[in-house]
């Protein structure tokens, strides 16, 4: 006789919906060197990024940066948060509370982005994460799993929203 699997979306997990991480101010400002390395690596050959004369003739009236560059740039860490032993950051900033579950397999299901404006060179950027939604689904094997939507909003120093990213994670 089959038994319905126990729900993994506990009241404790449901209570996390809407929970926010700390507001994080990104290290440094939107700068030439980060932009140069980013567009080389992407690659994105738009001269609006590096040709000031051309950029002045566009509707932006100034140089811009790639649409979501800010989402990578905001993750830069100051030297004191970098481990010289491990070669990676020691401190995770702006994290959301851990999901209290025994489901230990974590998958990145996808992303959604929405862009409103580009930061300008010299702008500083802040970001904040929140649990936008957490739902339970049932897999083909009859076992329930969690679908977690974490939304990150990025602002400039004028408190204007630059873009939003909603990432979907699956815990099963």
């Amino acid at each position: 006789m089959s038994r319905q699997a126990e729900s993994v979306l506990t009241p404790e997990i449901k209570a996390l919906i809407g929970e926010k991480g700390e507001m994080v101010e990104g290290w440094g400002v939107v700068d030439e060197e980060y932009l140069r390395r980013f567009v080389q690596a992407l690659p994105d050959w738009d001269p609006t990024y590096w040709d000031a004369e051309f950029a002045r003739k566009t509707r932006f009236k100034a140089r811009t940066v790639p649409p979501v560059m800010v989402t990578y740039m905001a993750g830069r860490r100051p030297l004191e948060e970098w481990s010289p032993v491990e070669g990676r950051p020691e401190v995770e900033r702006g994290s959301l509370p851990r999901i209290p579950t025994k489901l230990d397999r974590h998958l990145h299901g996808g992303d959604a982005v929405e862009v409103f404006q580009y930061p300008k060179l010299g702008d500083s950027v802040c970001y904040q994460r929140r649990y936008a939604d957490i739902q339970e689904r049932v897999g083909g094997d009859g076992k329930p799993f969690l679908v977690i939507i974490a939304e990150t909003t990025y602002w400039n120093q004028k408190n204007e929203v630059l873009c939003k990213v909603r990432s979907t994670y699956i815990n099963r």
């Binding site: 080389q40 050959w45 609006t48 051309f54 979501v68 990676r88 990145h108 979907t168």
Partner: protein
Amino acid sequence: MALPLAELLKLDPDKMPAHSERPTPDEFRHKKQVYYEDVQIGQEIPKYIQRFNTVHLFNWCAAIENPHRIHYDHPYAINYDKLPGVLFHGTWRMAIIPSWLKDWTFPGGWFWKADWQVRAMVVANEITIVWGKVTNKYAKDGLGFVDLEIGIKNQDGIEGCPGNATVVLPLKGGKPIPYPFVPPN
């Protein structure tokens, strides 16, 4: 004349990148506006086709300060994480797709939004084909909204990133798209 996606996938992978429609910096400088009226439902938009190799991966890891070894340490990736090779980052798609759609709408349009699923790994040295097809269009508040089906296929036609996007194009003789962009109600 651009090669349709279905025809492109019949080619030898080494011949695919020659059909990339990514504009050069000089083509950007003289790029003509795509207007809402120019777009037909079912139309493919310019595809970006490239074989991304480990040099590209190295550059991307360094640029975004991501030190995870599955992206550049081949023995670690295949032996420890049992992967088919070093992988492009899941979030790499998040940079590629908005830039590509920004290019198509340049100079007067706006890449507004996109969403996609992460379905398959992108392994170094694969061909990546960033593609899109118009699925719907509508005018609202004097602006032209175009919905697209998008994705990133490899040389075998395997879709690793199925998704949707909406861009905003100006109407011929219409008003400029506001900047910063304000979504319609």
